[in-house]
Symmetry: C2
Subunit: 341 residues, 2 copies
Amino acid sequence: MTLASTSQGIDANAANANVIDRMRTLFGADLQAVEALLIDRAKSPVSVIPDLSGYIVSAGGKRLRPLITLTAAHAVGKPDEATYALAAAVEFIHTATLLHDDVVDESDLRRGKPVAKAIWGNKAAILVGDFLFARAFNLLVEANSLDILGRLATASTTIAEGEVRQLAAMQARDLPTEDYLAIIAAKTGALFEAAAETGGMSGGGTVEQSDCLATYGKNLGLAFQIIDDALDYGGTTTVIGKSVGDDFREGKITLPVIIARRRGSDEDQAFWDRAMNLETQQDSDLAHACHLIRATGAAEATVQEAEAYAALAKGALRALPKSEARTALEDLADFCVSRAY
Amino acid sequence: MTLASTSQGIDANAANANVIDRMRTLFGADLQAVEALLIDRAKSPVSVIPDLSGYIVSAGGKRLRPLITLTAAHAVGKPDEATYALAAAVEFIHTATLLHDDVVDESDLRRGKPVAKAIWGNKAAILVGDFLFARAFNLLVEANSLDILGRLATASTTIAEGEVRQLAAMQARDLPTEDYLAIIAAKTGALFEAAAETGGMSGGGTVEQSDCLATYGKNLGLAFQIIDDALDYGGTTTVIGKSVGDDFREGKITLPVIIARRRGSDEDQAFWDRAMNLETQQDSDLAHACHLIRATGAAEATVQEAEAYAALAKGALRALPKSEARTALEDLADFCVSRAY
């Protein structure tokens, strides 16, 4: 990365840092309608359900995915009640996935915070995930389009496929980058893609416009997940904190590890093979892993990979009319990447 | 039960024993189309998915729920391709529920057979359940009716609520019969109800006819589950075999236990309190539990409860035109109960 592009990056950071807040302000009335649905549709006479889902739905949710849906609708037209139901469904699908993910990951903390299953147990987490997933499809009936519903059903299928594939790739010594990308395209990209595309469909966009939004969402999801995976090792600058090392402790092979291993000495490769194997991993390995990821330039290379997808995401928006919504989506792509610095 | 009604019961058994085979023959072409969908839609490039789902979908499946959907369609009209997709979706939802149920139940055997999670692990069972559930909604898009899809989404929500409620009621000392009935109405009745009702809707039935089929399905589901729960203690006559005691070993409070406890001496009640608590349950307790359930007449009373629901199920069909399909549904209600003898 040249000095010029770095300083441009820093400027962009300042402008983009608040893009999510800006979206929340621009489309505040829409988001409020979605929030009301999220509370209302988590209701159940079985009290564990609203308790547990309230914990995960309300706790620190940026509402990134429903915001994408709402903003996509504004970028090509206008959201209505059906769009709100759709956006709420997208968030419920995400939440259900998170709940099951946490059970599968065998981790009691996510970003340093106790996960729902650590409080209510695995069983309740599985079943409340099922509940929210089913409620998502009830909401999608209100979104009133079999076409839109089909997109979300397919995305849900793809997410599950991605999760199973990730399970099979756990602790794989030498995961090809292509396999890593296929996994994150499925487990993260698919829902971003569907969130953006169906937002366009629901907002009254043309087929071409919704296709562009699908391409935007898919690439944004890839950029977002790659940066997430970089942040799990502290990004490019962050000091190791409590929110670092979740993937490492689970033996999840992500792009920073793939690159650092490939670029490493024989000794480094032996380290990765031992450290990513949960049977031989030691507590002190995380610090060395973070060191290697920075020393080999793997952190920087990972972020550059994300930048390439963010550029593809922004490029896909060029066919849409200029608007505050389109600018927000563009800035969101930059912001996803700038989180790593 | 009088001698007359008993011997009538035995005659009915003979006539009803093969009702599922009869339905399979009557609607063989329809069922074949559904079976083809079940195989096709379990496909995935991620091989664990078809392997695991094939194990549970193909293994000994009676296809009871899709047969109800097909037969309901025939009872009021005619099934078509959309009905086949619907029937396959119903079976996938059932299968997904079974997979998650087995994880939550912590049992490695179901009816003496290893459950999927015992072979592929909990994680794969959870995720493949999610996959099948998502695929069910893809199939429901093909069923081409938001109304029908909404019924199945609501049923799925209700099932999850019932499962969470059952979890909370585990090892409850004194579960009211009403709570037991509410749990099984949700976890079993809801899908039977939706299977029958949407079969009617998809077959071209009137709203009134589909309502009757919903009432039929709901009561059939209750009868079916109550008998299942009786069979878990050997029914009224069966010698204890390998398929007995699953509920007992999980501390699940079911109708035979509720009745036997209520009718028992102080000593019996102390036994139930100790035996249904997994921390104090002993291996030898199952035989005594089965003995008490028979000695107190709880087995017989449980079956009579199921008979009442089966009668309600059959009664709901009276408004439908006479047909082979209607007769099959009536006989199915009798058969569900006769399994206990």
